[in-house]
Amino acid sequence: MDYSIEKFLWSLLGLFIVLNWGFLMASTMRRVGARLAGRIGVPMYQPWIDLVKMISLKTYLSHGVMYYIGPVFRLVGGIGMFLFMPILVGSEIWSNYSFSGDLILLLYFQSFGMLGMAMGASDSGSPHAAIGISRGLSQFAAVEVPMTLAVIAIAIQHQTFSFESIMQAQQGGILNWTIFTNPLASIAGMLAMLGAMSHSPFNLVKAPNEIPIGPPTEYHSSFLSVLRTNSAIIHVVEAALFMNLFFGGADTWFMYIIKTFFVYFISVFVGTVFPRFKIEDSVRWFLKWPTLIGIIAVLVAAYW
Amino acid sequence: MQKGINNLIEKFGASDLEVRRPGLSFITVENTKAVAAITHLKDIDGYTILSLITAVDWIEDGIMQLTYLLNNPEEIAEIGLRVMLERKEEAGESMETIHHLWPNAKKWQQELKEMFGIDFPTSPGLNDPFILEGWDAAPPYRRDFDTNKYAEETFFPRPGRETHDPAEHMKKNMYPNNPSDYTNKKYNPNR
C-alpha cells in the first residue's frame, strides 16, 4: 500500500467531496420529501448553515471524558468506513487505503461508531439517551445478521474479501452486477441497508418526538456538529458500500454521485411509504425474512 | 331509571327530584346516607360508572353542594346525586370518601380538596398537589377567594389595561353617526 503524503491528500480531497455531497444529498432528500407533501422545503444550503450555527453556540457543560469522546468515536467510525473502501473502481489515486481484507474491517467500522456513541451518550446521564442506546444497539445487532450473511455469500461467490476484486468482477455490463449474479444475497443486503440507514420504518432509535432525539439528547453545539458531519459522511459511505457490493461500483465521480443518490433514495422512498416499526417488531423482522434469505444465499453460494 | 330513583326515595329518603330529560335526573340525599345510596346504585341498580364528582359553592345559602354523576351503561341513564354540605367560613367541609367503590374517585376527591377545600378523610393521596404546585393561599374555586386581587398581588399586572363594553365600543367606533344602525337587523342579524 502507498502511504505517501500525496495519497493522503487525495483521500482528504475525496473525504471533502463526500462530506459536501452528503450535506447536499440530505437537503435534496428533505426537499424531495417536502415536494411529496406539497411544500417547498428547506433551502439547498440549510445543512451548511446549521453546521455553522451549531459551532457558533456556546457550551458550558461537562458530563465526563467519555461524553467528549463519544462524537469523536462516531466520526472515526464514519471516516474509517470511508478510508478503507475504494471510491472509484480501477483508479489508483481514488482507491483510498483499501487492501485485500478491507471488507471485514469495514463491517467492524460500521459498529465502531455506534459503540462509541453508546458509551458517550450513556455518560450524558439522560434517561432518553439510555433508552435510545438500548434500542439502537439491539436493532443494530439484528441488522448485522442479514448484512453479514449477504457479505459472506458474496465473499464465497467471488472467493475474496477485497472490495477491489469484488468491484472488478462486476465490471463489463449491467448483467455482471451482483444484484443479477447473486440476487438472494443482494435482497438480504438491501433489506439490511434499510436498517443501516436508520430511516423510517427503522428510525425508532432516533424517534424525534417520543424520546427526544434518542442517544444525542444531551449533545449540542460543537458536539452535535460533529455528529451531523458524521451522519453526512456515513449516509454517502453506506450507500457507496452497497453500491460497491451490489451495483457494480463506480468508475467516475459522476457515476459515484448518481449511484449513491439512488441507493440512498431507496431507503428514503421506503421511509416515506412505511410508518415506523416498534423496536421489537423491527428486530423480529430483521431476524426473520432478511436472515432467512441471507442463509439461503450463503447455502446457494456454497453448494450450487 | 325509574327503579333506581324509586329506591333512592323509598330507602334513602331522597328528595327534590328534578328530571332534566329522559335518562338524566338530579336528586338530593342527606350527606349521612349518600355513600350508602351510591353503593346501592352501583351494586344493585347498575349505575356502575362514576362519571364525575363536582362541587358548587352556594355562598349566599351557606351550602357547599357535591354532585356525584353516576352512569348506567345498560339503561343509558344518568343520575346526578346531590349532597348538600354545610358551608364553613374557612375551608374544611368534610364528606365520606367513595374511593373504595371506584379507585379513580380518589383523583376527583384530590381535585376537590385542592380547589374547594372539601375534606375526604382516608382518601389516598388527598393532600398531594394535583394542578396547583405548592399552593399556600385559600382554595381558589371558593367564591370568597378574590382571584383578581390575588392575581394583582402575585403577578405583575402591566399598567394601562382598559376594558370596553363590546356593545358600547361598537356603537361608538363603528356606527358613530347613527348608533341605531347597531340595533338594525340589516347590520346585526343577532338583534
Partner: protein, 221 residues
C-alpha cells in the same frame, strides 16, 4: 423564613438523607448540592466584526424551535409545517430537546406549573438563545389577566426577544414574528440570554415569588 418555606415544599427526593456506603459507613447526601452544580452562570462575551456578523446570519437563518407548547397558542405551531405555511423554507425547524434548540416559543398563557418547566428548559438551552412570546397572554395576561394561576407579564420571569400580539395570532403572524426575530439577530442585538444572566437575581426573585415549591437548583445547567 426562606429556610422554613424550603422545608415545606422540598420534594422528597431532594431532602437531605443518610445513605449507607458500600463499605458500611453512613454518609449524608444533600441531593441539591451533591447532584447538581450550584455555580452561577457567566455571561458570554459579545464579539463584533465580520466573523460575528456571519455567525449571526447563520444563527438567524437556522432557528431551531423547542417543541414545547406551553398553552393554547401551541395549536398555531403545527400549521407551520403544512404546505400552506411551510416554515422550513425560512430555516425554522422543530427540535425535541432543549439542548439542541435555540428558540423557545412561549405559546400563550403560562401557568405557574408550566413556568417552572419553561424555566428549566430555557436554562438548559445553549446560548445565544431567544424567546418569542406568542399571544396576548404573554404580554399582559390577555383574557387570563385575573386568573389565580397564570402569569401576567412574561418578561418579568424570562427575557423575551420578540412578542407576537393577538389572541390567537394566525400562523402568518407567527412567521412574521420569526422574521422580526431574524432582523434582531442579524443586527447583533439578540443577546437577551446575557441580560438574563446579568440580572439573574431579579429574575430569580420574581420566579421564586410565585413558584413556591422550588425543588430544583437555582440555575438548571
Amino acid at each position: 423564613m426562606e429556610e422554613e418555606k424550603k422545608d415545606k415544599f422540598l420534594a422528597p427526593e431532594n431532602e437531605i438523607r443518610q445513605v449507607a456506603a458500600p463499605d458500611g459507613s453512613i454518609i449524608e447526601v444533600n441531593p441539591l448540592e451533591d447532584y447538581f452544580t450550584q455555580d452561577r452562570p457567566k455571561p458570554y462575551k459579545v464579539r463584533k466584526g465580520p466573523v460575528e456578523d456571519f455567525l449571526n446570519w447563520a444563527r438567524a437563518e437556522s432557528l431551531w424551535v423547542l417543541g414545547f407548547g406551553t398553552g393554547c397558542g401551541s395549536i398555531e405551531i403545527p400549521p407551520l409545517v403544512t404546505p400552506r405555511f411551510d416554515m422550513f423554507r425560512f430555516g425554522i425547524q422543530m427540535r425535541a430537546t432543549p439542548r439542541q434548540s435555540n428558540v423557545f416559543v412561549i405559546s400563550g398563557y403560562l401557568s405557574v406549573k408550566t413556568l417552572k418547566r419553561a424555566i428549566r428548559a430555557y436554562e438548559q438551552m445553549p446560548s445565544p438563545k431567544y424567546i418569542v412570546g406568542l399571544g396576548s397572554c404573554t404580554i399582559n395576561g390577555g383574557m387570563y389577566y385575573d386568573s389565580y394561576n397564570t402569569i401576567n407579564r412574561l418578561d418579568h420571569y424570562l427575557p423575551v426577544d420578540a412578542y407576537i400580539a393577538g389572541c390567537m395570532p394566525r400562523p402568518e403572524a407567527l412567521l412574521h414574528g420569526f422574521e422580526g426575530l431574524k432582523k434582531i439577530i442579524k443586527a447583533g442585538k439578540g443577546h437577551k440570554a446575557n441580560e438574563y444572566i446579568e440580572n439573574l437575581d431579579w429574575y430569580k426573585a420574581n420566579q421564586k415569588k410565585i413558584i413556591k415549591d422550588w425543588n430544583m437548583p437555582d440555575y438548571n445547567w
